[in-house]
Amino acid sequence: MVGKDEKNVNVKEKIFIEKLYKSLFNKMYYYSLSALGRPEIAEEAVQEAFRIACSRIKVLMKSENPEGWMVITQKNVIRNIRRSQAAYNNAIISLLAESAKSDNVFTDDPEQRAVLHEIAKNEEFIMLKMISEGYSYLEISEKLGISIEACKKRAQRLQKKIQNNYF
């Protein structure tokens, strides 16, 4: 969606978004940093807010208060980041407990255990842990040598895998 809109963004819209970006980036960054605590995830939160803005550029430009619109978008991004981290925490909790407890509190099903062990061994687990600890997708993508988009898709597939096989 962002890609399609970006192709259709005209020169006037590009100038508008760049001007808005340069006037608001720092203020939104420090707001995000206050909320999330880490510079890298704070920066990514702002970048994501502007990415959303680009996908809704026509709505944004009609707004009577584009700065207010951006602040609201930023707050929603922050809220979703927190919820996302909490959701991945659930998966981490399951995996940590599984590896920590020898009496296998969570499952007696050998297939489920195999899935959990498989996940825990490889880079997917690393990704899951990094998300839950507040690392940005950019940081994780750099560590794994993949794009941000690929990073996000892998995380979503992993979440689904754990839910389907474990829960």
Partner: protein
């Protein structure tokens, strides 16, 4: 189309005299408030601008410039072709997890104990020697509309055996902090204790069929301990009982409560009704 900057930004001199740490705390608290509340936008932008100005003076050499950030945005983020946001709302995920956790009794309290260990590792230092929970509630009064009840008159009921109280007290919990009332049918199933250098958790699980009530004691020795608790859209309620202040809130259709003191946070999770949770907290003597 509105031009950028046509909305003349108001000035808020009352914030200029606050320290940077205090301003950061204000923004952090605001990030938990209703995202669609537009009444504080100008104040937020002003505060962020003050922090930016002060930070720029202190750390000029390491700051990411706006031009660099804009270049990064165009290079790395703008062309992500996904139809969905990078960070999606996770209601579906949380709902699925909740339904399945109810089917596995032992998962819930073990998860709570381990979750606190994870949260303890990621706590950020925020405090000015003030009650964190109180300040969040007081900041959010406009948006939460928190109501304060009079001291609850629910009488005292007792149905918890001394044996159960002894088992919990064996983990270092003051007997006067242990409720003497638990809703009918719930039996103590397990007690988990976990420790990190700064934190000790004692988690008690009371089970009734597929349902579970969690009693969690978190001991911390840091002035900067913070804890985030998830609630749904309804407003939390403050209850003063036995000279103690509890915050009651709803999450996933269950009533929960928390109480914060100098080095202890007491949580009660998973109670079916409001009346029952009030009975539980009323039975805690201290």
């Amino acid at each position: 189309m509105s031009e950028i900057g046509n909305n003349k930004q108001k000035k808020f001199p009352e914030f200029d005299c606050l320290s940077t740490e205090e301003l950061i705390e204000l923004l952090r608290r605001d990030s938990y408030s209703d995202p669609y509340d537009t009444t504080k936008v100008d104040a937020i932008l002003h505060i962020s601008g003050v922090i930016e100005e002060r930070t720029r003076k202190e750390k000029a050499e390491n700051a990411l410039t706006t031009d660099e950030a804009w270049e990064k945005f165009n290079r790395l983020y703008l062309n992500i072709k996904s139809d969905t946001p990078l960070y999606e709302p996770t209601e579906k995920i949380n709902r699925n997890c909740d339904l399945n956790i109810k089917r596995r009794l032992r998962v819930l309290y073990a998860a709570a104990a381990i979750a606190l260990m994870i949260f303890a590792g990621s706590i950020t230092a925020k405090a000015f020697n003030i009650d964190i929970v109180d300040t969040i509630i007081s900041w959010g009064k406009e948006t939460f509309g928190v109501s304060v009840s009079k001291e609850a008159d629910v009488g005292s009921e007792r149905n918890v055996d001394n044996e159960v109280i002894d088992k919990i007290a064996d983990h270092g919990i003051n007997r006067n902090l242990i409720p003497t009332y638990i809703p009918e049918g719930y039996e103590l199933e397990k007690i988990e204790e976990s420790m990190t250098p700064d934190l000790k958790d004692v988690v008690c699980g009371f089970a009734r069929g597929d349902e579970m009530i969690i009693l969690q004691y978190t001991f911390h020795d840091s002035d900067f301990f913070t804890s985030d608790i998830q609630k749904n859209e309804e407003e939390p309620t403050v209850y003063d009982v036995n000279e103690n202040r509890y915050y009651i809130f709803i999450n996933n259709n269950r009533f929960n409560a928390c109480r914060s003191e100098k080095d202890l946070i007491l949580y009660i999770f998973g109670v079916p009704t409001k009346e029952e949770i009030i009975k539980i907290i009323s039975s805690i003597k201290e």
